[in-house]
């Protein structure tokens, strides 16, 4: 459904549609995927939309191949993305690790459904949070974003591309079945211009180019294959030249830089929406579709005169440790509602370092957490 005037366009679309549109707005030119519920609409829309902008869509023979093709396309300079859900996300992990290791920008969407295994294909969940962080083997950098509504899905998809280009890192966009399929009214300001970041390119001639150079920023400039800079890309630990190394000093230098490049920019990457009240002693930490119920619960509690400090991160990895630590200092408890058995509560506990009590509100039956359930947890503490 669409309404138009000169300045605004009003659309009623789903999160999956917003993700596809956001990717196109970010300059997506290559998508490889594999059918899986509840993410398939993203592939379907892009199979329709990409050719019109000269972009390429391919349905690969499996999820592993789709992730591989995305990396290949990014290496020749296309902004590239894949989308999947639980079981498919498990299969992506092999080449997701490659993208992290070889520092190839790309975006991986995971529309979370209930797990483990085939789990609950048509029902929402937030149980892939740890897999998003640690799903592939080895110490590696990663960024994971998690929107709580349709408009935010659009914005965060653009941001996912920007961050992946800026830091040469795979960025995971965590939707869930609710966000993916819910229809919401979205208002697009046609004059709104999005800042689009591109990978930094080298300012040296090919003979001086080091594809994995140690630079002040820790993010080496990147040039696409086929531009006269012939270099080697591998998933093996490599030195500045890009070739494999077994040298202890080089291994340490490389792996430290690889991980540091995200750690040191955590403050720039992390975004947290804070809705706090002076003197509130109850903290609430919620994200993704659960944050919608949390917002509702906060309003209901405030109507009853209860003060709440509510924080809602849109970036889950790197984890907003400082925000949680501050919340832990202010509050007697932090309530963490999530559709899993307590994956983020565990992180919140770690970040609050024993300074406050962490209260879990969980659902694992494919049903959203209702505002009343969060409100109950709040009122128990009053």
């Amino acid at each position: 459904m669409k309404q138009k005037n000169d300045q605004f366009e009003v659309k009623v679309i789903t999160g999956n549609e917003a993700c596809a549109e956001g990717a196109l707005a970010a300059g997506l030119r290559f998508f490889a995927g594999y059918p899986i519920t509840p993410s398939s609409e993203i592939a379907e829309i892009l199979s329709m939309r990409l050719p019109a902008v000269g972009g390429k869509f391919i349905q690969m023979e499996d999820e592993i191949g789709a992730m591989g093709a995305v990396i290949g396309a990014s290496l020749v300079g296309s902004k590239a993305m894949t989308a999947t859900s639980g079981p498919g996300f498990s299969l992506k992990q092999e080449n997701l690790g490659y993208a992290a290791m070889a520092e190839v920008p790309c975006v991986v969407v995971n529309v979370m459904r209930g797990g483990p295994s085939t789990g609950l294909p048509t029902l929402p969940s937030q149980s892939d949070l740890m897999q998003a962080r640690w799903g592939t083997h080895g110490d590696h950098p990663i960024i994971a974003l998690c929107p709580h509504g349709v408009r935010e899905t659009y914005d965060l998809t653009i941001r996912a591309f920007n961050l992946s280009e800026k830091y040469r890192v795979p960025v995971i966009l965590l939707l869930d079945e609710i966000i993916g399929h819910v229809n919401e009214k979205v208002i697009f300001d046609k004059k709104e211009k999005f800042e689009l970041w591109q990978r930094e390119t080298p300012d040296v001639p090919p003979e001086n180019y080091l594809p994995y150079k140690f630079t002040e920023s820790d993010v080496p400039p990147m040039v696409s294959f086929g531009k006269g800079y012939r270099f080697h890309v591998t998933g093996l630990v490599h030195d500045e030249t890009g070739f494999p190394t077994n040298n202890s000093e080089q291994i340490i230098k490389f792996l430290q830089r690889l991980n540091r490049k995200i750690d040191r920019y955590a403050d720039d990457i992390i975004q947290v929406h804070e809705d706090s009240e002076e003197g509130a002693k109850i903290g609430l930490f919620a994200f993704g579709s659960t944050a919608r119920s949390a917002k509702n619960a906060v309003n209901l509690a405030r109507e009853k005169g209860v003060k709440i400090n509510f924080i809602r991160p849109t970036v889950l990895w790197p984890f907003p440790q400082k925000h949680v630590a501050r919340l832990a200092d202010q509050c007697d408890c932090i309530i963490v509602p999530e559709m899993n058995l307590g994956q983020m509560a565990h992180e919140v506990e770690w970040a609050s370092a024993g300074k406050t009590e962490v209260i879990k509100v969980n659902r694992i039956d494919g049903e959203p957490i209702r505002p009343s359930e969060i409100l109950d947890a709040i009122m128990e503490r009053v």
């Binding site: 490889a32 050719p51 290949g72 396309a73 020749v76 590239a80 086929g226 012939r230 080697h232 998933g235």
Partner: protein, 272 residues
């Protein structure tokens, strides 16, 4: 004579390959074919998976991509689609391409995407120490088939043909100059092409199966290979332990990136 050094990253020598390994012969053959066609180094993207042969990409001065085990063709598919003007050549082995990577191999052939696959078939997993592969002959010994391989083996050229490749040839390192021609034809061919190269792994296969060193293995290859023409007159029984060499398939079929570009033109046309 061709100056191979023009194409090699000499600072990366010595090669990791064992003495007597056939992989170097294939490398030289590939470089002769590339030189003959006259491709520039910048327009070649060479993609490999994991294994002894896949280390080749580290030694050649092209745009080189050393990927994960079995996935070279999947990465190559992304490269080729996103930049069709690039000449994409995949270097892979029997285990890499037809065990862990079998799915990508057959589907790339089905799409008939313009990628040339040089498949080093040494009938074994060399790098990991001689485990049984999909092309290890039945009865042969491997570190994971100590009593002889109880499994049937793959005809991997036949697989590519059945799946839809435009060009398929099988050669051996014994006939390296003929191999040049197959590789040249494969690269020139618009569509998915496979050159299956029979190459010895004395370290992990020859020794365990008492065939001998690299030279003995190449002689053995020679004795067991017959041309397609000869083979057509032989019985199945006679062909049992033979390697059939020659151009097995050379046909015109619609190519995938071409088809996709036409689709783009069509969509753009109907939008304007």
């Amino acid at each position: 004579m061709l100056d191979y050094n023009k194409y090699l990253r000499q600072q990366k020598f010595p090669l990791i390959w064992c003495a007597g390994c056939g992989d170097g012969i294939v490398l030289k053959s590939m470089l002769r074919a590339i030189d003959k066609i006259g491709l520039s180094k910048d327009e070649i993207c060479m993609v490999s998976g994991i294994g002894c042969s896949s280390r080749l990409t580290g030694y050649v001065d092209f745009n080189t991509l050393h990927t994960t085990h079995g996935r070279a063709i999947a990465f190559a598919t992304g490269v080729k689609m996103a930049k069709p003007e690039m000449h994409v050549i995949v270097v892979t082995g029997d285990g890499d391409a037809t065990a862990i990577g079998g799915n990508h191999y057959i589907h790339a052939a089905r799409r008939n995407i313009d990628i040339s696959v040089i498949l080093f078939n040494n009938n074994i997993y060399g790098m990991t120490g001689g485990q049984v592969s999909p092309t290890t002959p039945i009865g042969s010994r491997a570190s994971t088939a100590p009593f002889g391989n109880p499994e049937n083996s793959f005809n991997i050229s036949g697989l590519a043909e059945a799946a839809g490749a435009s060009f398929v040839a099988r050669g051996t390192v014994h006939d390296a100059l003929i191999l040049d021609k197959y590789i040249e034809k494969a690269i020139r061919k618009k569509g998915f092409s496979v050159v299956e190269v029979m190459t010895p792994c004395p370290t992990a296969y020859g020794r365990r199966n008492r065939i001998g060193d690299g030279v003995a293995m190449i002689k053995d290859l020679k004795e067991h290979s017959v041309s397609v023409r000869k083979a057509s007159k032989m019985s199945e029984e006679e062909l049992n332990d033979k390697v059939v060499t020659g151009i097995l398939v050379d046909r015109e079929r619609p190519e995938y990136t071409d088809n996709y570009n036409k689709l783009i033109e069509r969509v753009k046309g109907s939008n304007s």
